[in-house]
Symmetry: D2
Subunit: 259 residues, 4 copies
């Protein structure tokens, strides 16, 4: 690709600023840990971050139209993201912007709006080990990822996960406690590519783990649209006044039928 | 199935009451024409109909929980269906209620909410002929439908149709004017089964056409859930306090980690 | 459905006749255990069974054309099924006959031919417990099946399973040993519906377990085609000499172009 | 990607050497026209071509293991490709090699083997115009392709096309004669990515058309695996003697059960 990939990272940043344990693990916030995956890399251009307090100033239409891929981490404060903003972001996704949803973002307004389902799941904060299985070793998102690896401690997310059938089912997780989970999934909505990764409870240093960083790095590159704002450039949603193949047709004339 | 299928039909009924041409075609309203497909049939139980003026009184939670399949026809007045009601209906679909979306319902709030996309498309009111091709001759929805048949006059709907990849792509339509369209599609959302059928512009007597009636009849039967309110009975969405397979495990103890 | 469902069951029957342990578990053979699921049931018509020694006499074209659903259990002797017979059976599936593949049939010629992949997987004979998770509680195949249940002892089958993306991913299995597996999958091939169920190692009495029997019962009903030999009746694969929409066209004339 | 893409092109080359009209259109053969799309391009490495007479010498295991993407054009002589060679090629695809199937290759042994279906379709040699509609404007294969474009004259291919549901349905074609066709489709088989493009009857200069060349160029790049021979390097298909998560388990012991 000729242009550099612009990325905007939203992280609620509530746990980091309200729980000392979490603050120790993520002193720069989860958004800082995510940013460090892609910064100083020649493939990436403008990297913006924002958190709950400043998200409305950063996530403007102007920023979004300059963004190729949006990364989203939210948990306790999904309701504090305004419906109108969610509407604007969702439209940008349909126009081609990629989105990476991390962990508890399965319950965010944006996730539920784009998928049309509940995002609900079983969960248990038991710090169990999760073993991820790589179902698509030739997918761009799994480049460099082995057949299987473990996240030593994470929040358990189990089926039945309230999602539509993924376009690509990339990871399945086995949990110590007996659950399984579709932990890495893609969907396409309009022209936008979506990726959900289950890993990343705030109480564990998961976003420093090598495999998880590789997956997120790959996923951002994969979700980048061929052209920024792809649909706005290509498909004005107007009536098809042009009649593609009617010139030589002796076709039914609507106005006559009305008489 | 042991129980009878309860069906609720919503039709905007705006054209029928505001356009004499349409009123002549559908003197009982489009809902009346749809109802006549399934009434006096031993497989069906309670059949309710409603229109824009009375929809809020009929589409109560009580009615919806007693409904197996909802049929939806709307066009000009999508915005007059309240957001809260759409939310309630969508939740019922996720819990297992089937929905049949007809024609211009591709732009209804409910369609867009459940699919997460724009539902946008090319359109042209030219009364062209559409030729439908049956891609799945062994699908329950196409029982009795030939490989191909025509709708003599309909509104043209063309790609690019703003939908997620269908679960089953059942019909493709060829149009005189050069467009093609994915005109019969299914999706699954939560436990609910969705079917969209393009055919049915209000200015043509399409809902009296034999093939169209057969498709709608089959689709309603197909969309009926195994059990009414299937998820409410089976999946209380609660934390998984039960630990399925942890009894014999010497697993990580979360409380100790917190210290 | 008006007609009764005709079922043909193939079981290799090698273990039952060569291993005393297995013979004790399945004195009537695995085919006998499968047959007992559907016999004396008003929905079913002719039920045929066959084993490796007599399969070629039973699985004639005549039998296959009188069969709605074929059930297949094989393990050690896949190579002893002739290529030509596999070809004939596969064609019947494309014409609408359903197939239920059980356990080690993932490596049968028929499975690999219809799916186009290796069917390969990880496996371990450790008699581990498998916990199945029901991902589609509103699917006809899961009627009566709870959200999760265990098979106390089975052969472990783990990912990466060499299959194309299932049409419906119905069950995921969690294994004691750390694997996960897509253990209940459907596909569509031509007009035929396929279902694969992982459960059923010959050394355990799995085909007597209530949930497994319910799944197989439901799956056979689900896989039954709308009409027997559906494609042979509907789609003679011939050149389209009929020109559907060309009558009024001033279209390109091939013969003139040739000059 | 760090390495250059190695491409091998097979073209039957029967029409070009037996029909003067075709020879005039493709003096270097269809393989020559395809080769000219990617030669002298820095992203591509070794480009090999072969035809029916020399295909067995060129398509050796050594060549295939050095190939990232195979392009296939065949029509009259599908049967002259040996079953054993088809088996070897198919295994390479499962291991990650991409394949581009062009036009009448829908009836090739390799296509049918990898998809598991008949590949059958309606067809008519009438030199009709086909109008392709781009359903996925943000797919790597459609970069640079407009929403719709026409192939002025081609052989008509119509539904029902005997294929499994595509992974990505990229193009739909509208035909003058009333047919529609899923004319651009992807599938995944094992780790290999497949793309089928309908366009390209030998009697028309279709492989010189700009849009068609762009599609083929993009598709070859898209089908290239992340790593050559990806599975051979990553997944030895052996029993899982390693017991991933069994160390701390008091699990069922198979040998004791046997007593």
């Amino acid at each position: 690709m000729d242009r550099k990939i612009n990325v905007t990272i939203y992280n609620e940043n509530f746990h980091e600023t309200n729980d000392l344990e979490v603050a120790k693990i993520y002193p720069q916030g989860i958004h800082g840990a995510i940013k460090s995956i892609i910064e100083n890399d020649a493939e990436f251009g403008t990297i913006r971050t924002c958190t709950l307090p400043d998200h409305a100033q950063v996530l403007t239409l102007e920023t979004l139209e300059d963004t190729d891929v949006l990364v989203w981490w939210g948990h306790m404060k999904h309701r504090e993201i305004g419906d109108e903003l969610v509407e604007i972001i969702a439209r940008r996704v349909l126009d081609g912007m990629g989105v990476i949803f991390l962990h508890s973002s399965h319950a965010s307004k944006l996730f539920k709006k784009l998928l049309g389902t509940s995002g609900s799941l079983r969960w248990r904060e038991a710090g169990e080990k999760g073993r991820l299985w790589n179902l698509m070793p030739n997918h761009p998102i799994t480049e460099g990822i082995p057949e299987t690896f473990t996240v030593p401690h994470d929040e358990t997310y189990g089926e039945l996960f309230g999602i539509p059938t993924p376009h690509d089912l990339i990871f399945l997780t086995w949990w110590q406690g007996g659950e399984v989970f579709r932990s890495g999934c893609t969907w396409i909505r309009g022209e936008g590519k979506l990726f959900y990764l289950q890993s990343g409870h705030e109480t564990f240093p998961i976003y420093y783990q090598k495999e998880i960083r590789t997956i997120i790095y790959n996923a951002i590159k994969w979700a980048c649209p061929v052209t920024r704002n792809i649909i706005r450039q290509r498909r004005p949603n107007v009536p098809a006044l042009e009649k593609y193949e009617l010139e030589d047709h002796d076709f039914y004339v609507f106005s006559e039928h009305k008489k």
